[in-house]
């Protein structure tokens, strides 16, 4: 009787202890969960490596810390793309910095449906891009903006990919995020009605539909502006583009453009040779001399029709272009700065594209063969693209924006047929510059080092024998030795 009761008491006690254990395990799990929660929120992240390949610069971290809305990045890269790991790792550093930034990757080979959905949402024009989106604003960064390749080696085998020289991911991505912050208008208007090239035309020589896609991909809306209807430049215009008018603009239109510029306007003008548009005088008031000529440079052409540009002068528009190679202009006219004023409210003009000293401005359009004529032609270097800024710098009112104007001596270089080399980026950078958008952040590219060992086949075999067999066997022998000693 007593025995049974003792047993029962023991059983009860055991059961209580078991429940006790289970309860405390559950409690411990909850406690661990809480600690995980806290640890995930409060952290320090340090990079011990000497290279710091993915270390974010203070500019990037400051930008990420100040984000007011969520930014969503989508990496659209195939598996096995040479940049995939770098892009992914770098953007993960962004994501780990702030809960406002989120990265996803889409593999076009594996999920064509998601690519299609993306293509519906964003004007993707090429594979291998990273899309940054905040609300309905977005910016698509193409591959060439984050990687610098070595110039192709003529001796290398044909199918060998060019070696990657530097990774500019942080500069490209941070600038893209920067351009998504803020609420300024993002519509650029293309003037129409005077024979300008049209953003809706897919015609190879006169259409700008490819350029319009590039602009949209950059997160800016491109719209037509038939000036005859409206008679004024819309308030939401972030910039106005005049793409190669063939006819003279009526004086009220010219005055209106001048007035727009005078009120911190943003304008890109492309004027072809052999045309009179009525803009020439107006531009001279902005420090730009538009020549009635054709710029030629025998050292920078293949057929005489085109003019290769590069190296470029040092300017925020042109400095990044060096990576993309030459731009190609087609019989441009001379566009030159007229000598800059000292006062802050005077426009400051800078050349963006120049011939060499061997080029000149040809006055006689029909001369064959074209040659330098000392009486009427001006000797090089001759500029055919100019950036003008009339700074708000020095003025008391900080809200007053700077006026920015870029004049190209050619409109053919952005036509559908001609968007090769650095042409598209030349225009895009000019547009970004006038819109004060996507300013270069001054983030240094990370150079990509190649590690190479020089080992002969025999050496490799010896290393295999040592590391796969020799070195492990040594420890097996020690083990045997230990057991032998133990037995004796």
């Amino acid at each position: 009787m007593e025995m049974r009761e003792m047993r029962r008491a023991g059983r009860r006690r055991r059961r209580a202890l078991r429940w006790n254990a289970v309860a405390s395990l559950v409690l411990a799990a909850i406690l661990a969960g809480l600690l995980h929660y806290l640890a995930a929120r409060h952290y320090v992240r340090r990079d011990w490596s000497g290279v710091g390949f993915y270390r974010l610069s203070p500019k990037t971290t400051a930008l990420l810390d100040s984000l007011q809305e969520d930014i969503e990045a989508t990496i659209l890269l195939k598996g096995g793309h040479p940049d995939l790991n770098d892009v992914q790792t770098l953007l993960r550093e962004y994501q780990l910095r702030t809960p406002r930034f989120f990265v996803a990757r889409v593999d076009p080979d594996r999920s064509p449906a998601r690519v299609e959905a993306l293509a519906k949402r964003f004007p993707i024009t090429e594979p291998n891009v990273v899309i940054f989106a905040a609300g309905d604003r977005f910016r698509i960064v193409p591959e060439r903006e984050w990687i610098e390749l070595e110039p192709p080696d003529p001796d290398a085998p044909k199918n060998q990919a060019p070696r990657r020289r530097a990774f500019l991911g942080e500069a490209a991505f941070t600038a893209a995020i920067q351009s998504l912050t803020g609420e300024e208008p993002r519509v650029v208007y293309f003037l129409e009605g005077h024979g300008e090239k049209s953003i809706e035309s897919a015609e190879p020589g006169f259409g700008l539909s490819q350029l319009a896609r590039l602009i949209r991909q950059d997160g800016v809306e491109a719209r037509r502006l038939p000036l005859d209807e409206t008679r004024r430049i819309p308030d939401d215009a972030a910039a106005l583009v005049i793409a190669g008018p063939r006819r003279r603009l009526p004086q009220p239109a010219v005055d209106m453009i001048h007035d727009y510029l005078d009120h911190s306007g943003r304008v890109i003008v492309m004027l072809d040779s052999r045309t009179q548009t009525g803009l020439e005088d107006m531009l001279s008031r902005w420090g730009v001399r538009v020549g009635d000529d054709v710029v030629v440079d025998p050292t920078r052409t293949l057929t005489g029709q085109e003019l290769l540009v590069g190296p470029y002068p040092d300017h925020p528009i042109t400095s990044p272009l060096a990576r993309y190679g030459y731009s190609v202009f087609y019989q441009p006219r001379s566009i030159e700065p007229m000598g800059n004023g000292e006062a802050a409210d005077r426009p400051r003009a800078t050349s963006l594209a120049l011939t060499t000293a061997k080029g000149w401005a040809e006055r006689d359009f029909d001369a064959r063969p074209i040659r330098f004529d000392a009486d009427q032609d001006r000797p090089g270097p001759i500029a055919f693209a100019v950036a003008v800024e009339r700074g708000a710098a020095g003025t008391v009112d900080v809200r007053l924006r700077a006026t920015r104007l870029v004049v190209f001596g050619d409109s053919q270089f952005v036509a559908n047929r001609s968007l090769t080399g650095a042409n598209g980026d030349f225009f895009l950078n000019a547009l970004r510059w006038v819109m004060e958008r996507h300013e270069p952040m001054g983030l240094a590219p990370k150079s990509i080092a190649e590690v190479r060992l020089h080992l002969t086949r025999r050496q490799m075999q010896a290393l295999a024998a040592f590391f796969i067999i020799g070195w492990p066997s040594l420890f097996a022998l020690i083990g045997v030795g230990v057991r032998m000693r133990r037995r004796h």
Binding site: L35, A39, A40, W48, V451, F467, P472
Partner: protein
Amino acid sequence: MRSFGVLLRRELGAIFLSPMAWTALTFFLAVMGTSFWMLLDLLSRGAERTEGGEVIGQLLGSIFFWLALLIVAPVITMRTIAEERRSGTFEMLMTAPVRDGTVVLAKYTAALLFYAVLWLPTLIYPLTLRLLRPFGAPLDGGALAAGYLGVMLIGAAAIAAGVFTSSITRSQVTAALGAFAIICVFFLAGFLPYIPHGETVARTAHYASGVSHLLDFARGVVDTRPIAFYLINTAWLLWATVRMTEARRWK
């Protein structure tokens, strides 16, 4: 404290005298040696671009590490408690005037020390790389240190999981299989961040992804989040082990 020292010495002796330990060490070095040789082969072809830290990523953060960990951690830990329970020596240990916590901690520490010993011979790899004088980026000392830190942290948690499974069963095989399953699930879950998901899932997956932790460590990034992740899990598993042994004492 003294009893901990005695117990630790007993455990270490048991490990280093078992043929299993030396087999594990040999197996481990063969696997890691293959991994290292493949890295050398890659570098000698020169096709792969590799930054200073990336070399260490290839060395420590490769699939070979996980392969080795999946086998080695259960093998080291499976006998710790299960074996003693089966052979009956555990009752002796439990009736001795030491606390359960001390016993578990001594067993765990011994297993962790053996795990560290496993890694010691691998230091020859970075040394070899330095001796071979590769053209290009040299080995990154910071990344190397961080990489080994990551390897130890992940190992610490894996071994805690092994000791835990060993405490809930009498059979070594069951214990080893249990540990293998836990580490395996953890390893596979490490790939979750690389699969598309919603935001919350992705962030949680990143927090718990051993694969991405190790790659981060191996390129020199030391983050308190993964460190905390492994330390909390280690502590929790060890505490659970102590509770399990306490509960079992009354069986």
